[in-house]
Amino acid sequence: MLSDQLVVERIRRDFPIFSRLENGKPLIYLDSAATSQRPIQVINAVVEFYEKINSNVHRGLYTMSEEATEAYEAARANVSSFVGCKPEELVFTRNATEALNLVAFSWGRANIKQGDTILITQMEHHSNIIPWQILSAEKKAHLEYIRITDDGLLDPVSVEEGLGKGPKIVAITQASNVLGTINDVKAIAKKAHEAGAICLVDGAQSVPHMPINVKEIGCDFLAFSGHKMLGPMGIGGLYGEFDLLDSMPPFLTGGEMIKEVNLEGASWNDVPYKFEAGTPNVEGAIGLSAAVNYLKGIGMGWVRSHERELIARALPLMLDENGVKVYGPTNPEQRGGVISFNVEGVHAHDVAEIFDSEGITIRSGHHCAMPIMNKFGIPATARVSFYVYNYGDEINVLMNAIKKVKRVFSVG
């Protein structure tokens, strides 16, 4: 077995971006929770599509178009197997956000009635909040939030309270993009079903980072984004349990998603095509499939344990550092590869800017999770996030950058 360091070195050779300098320093990319980098295998898959079989899919009766269609459907099969569902259960979307909106518009408008309850959590990304706020305002339904504890875990009392209200749907993230918290979605899905609700999982931060099987989780929907898992931007996915998808009205309408149209009305195509209106992002799907192959090659078990090791190393250092406040669970087992923090007396922007001067790219702000910011009474955090191409030594540079922040601002 190769040591972790060697594996990472081999992985990094596949990522052209690392030959770039950031501010004259070697690039230390710690912003994969925002978007990941792409290996050459993904780039090549996209370029090869352009150069060899680029054509529109479905309905093409010529060889090249059949090849494009086969490649597109093979991508669907590959990505669906990656999350453990059937190909027909995977709808390609632009990103996780569109996948979540699809559920809120299509399932939501058909099923949520006045007085119904929608249950989400206080640690959701805006993309899993606002579609439900709008839906509940429109339908005069109740939107309830499961509270989080001070160490960034779901409050078990609040979970029970929420479920006790008899929600129609429980929409919850599997991994928080701010706190790192990994939620036990399998248990939540079970409880949701017992309470008569369906369960949607926001997998934007979990599908890229750990082994996922939707049938094992038992959820009804799972949303994710390609660009966070080594794939292209502009492509993402929604898993939906077949009968549920089949029973839902379409969302976007137009070409490709209909069976017949006359002047009065239309009948819909089969699942999943019913939900893919217009020319799809074929090259995006093919790139995402290449990303899935890449991840399968490394092994999702390795990805998870690699990130856990990085967190296990970085977290205690940051927790120990004077003047640094870290958010979220302190146990690496309960965390994905994300750490949010603040340096006392320094705004997160300034932290990010000074990190950048050391070649470290991190994100700062509210991370599209304002309810978390409100909960902790802060306007913003700085956030580092790890992925397959990060290695332990980068944590030393990171800690030195924190010291530089404190020096510049004479704090700590």
Binding site: R59, G60, L61, S65, E66, E70, E256, D270, Y273
Partner: protein, 127 residues
């Protein structure tokens, strides 16, 4: 192009399809289209005692689709419902004299059988 697609048998059945038309005494009937391609087939079947007594079809489609419908209706006349239900892609291709077919064209070839089965399933549900 798969030159096989335009062999004599397919062209013949396309130009002069057997059992083309309506069947007024039908007690099983179904119509379906291939999304996005404009092929539509309607099957009208007379079922008696679990057997296909008579069958006719109407519709529009490409050579493969129409030939497939024509050959299929010839084959199933007199067959048991259960026999029809066990037919698959291989059987349709062998009727057409083809060893393989591309996925897109496969949909054209398979539409008549799909419609026929649907008509029989509906018939059995109603019975």
């Amino acid at each position: 192009m798969d030159e096989d697609l335009y062999r004599e048998i397919i062209l013949d059945h396309y130009k002069h399809p057997s059992n083309f038309g309506y069947l007024p005494e039908a007690n099983a009937k179904f119509r379906d289209s291939n999304t996005n391609c404009g092929d539509t087939i309607q099957m009208e079947v007379r079922v008696d005692g679990g057997e296909i007594r008579d069958i006719r079809f109407t519709g529009v489609g490409c050579a493969v689709c129409i030939a497939s419908a024509s050959l299929l209706t010839e084959k199933v006349k007199g067959a048991k419902i259960s026999e029809v239900m066990s037919l698959g892609e291989k059987d349709v291709l062998s009727l057409l004299g083809l060893s393989s077919i591309t996925p897109e064209r496969g949909k054209c070839a398979m539409l008549p059988l799909k419609v026929l089965k649907a008509s029989l399933i509906q018939f059995q549900k109603q019975a």
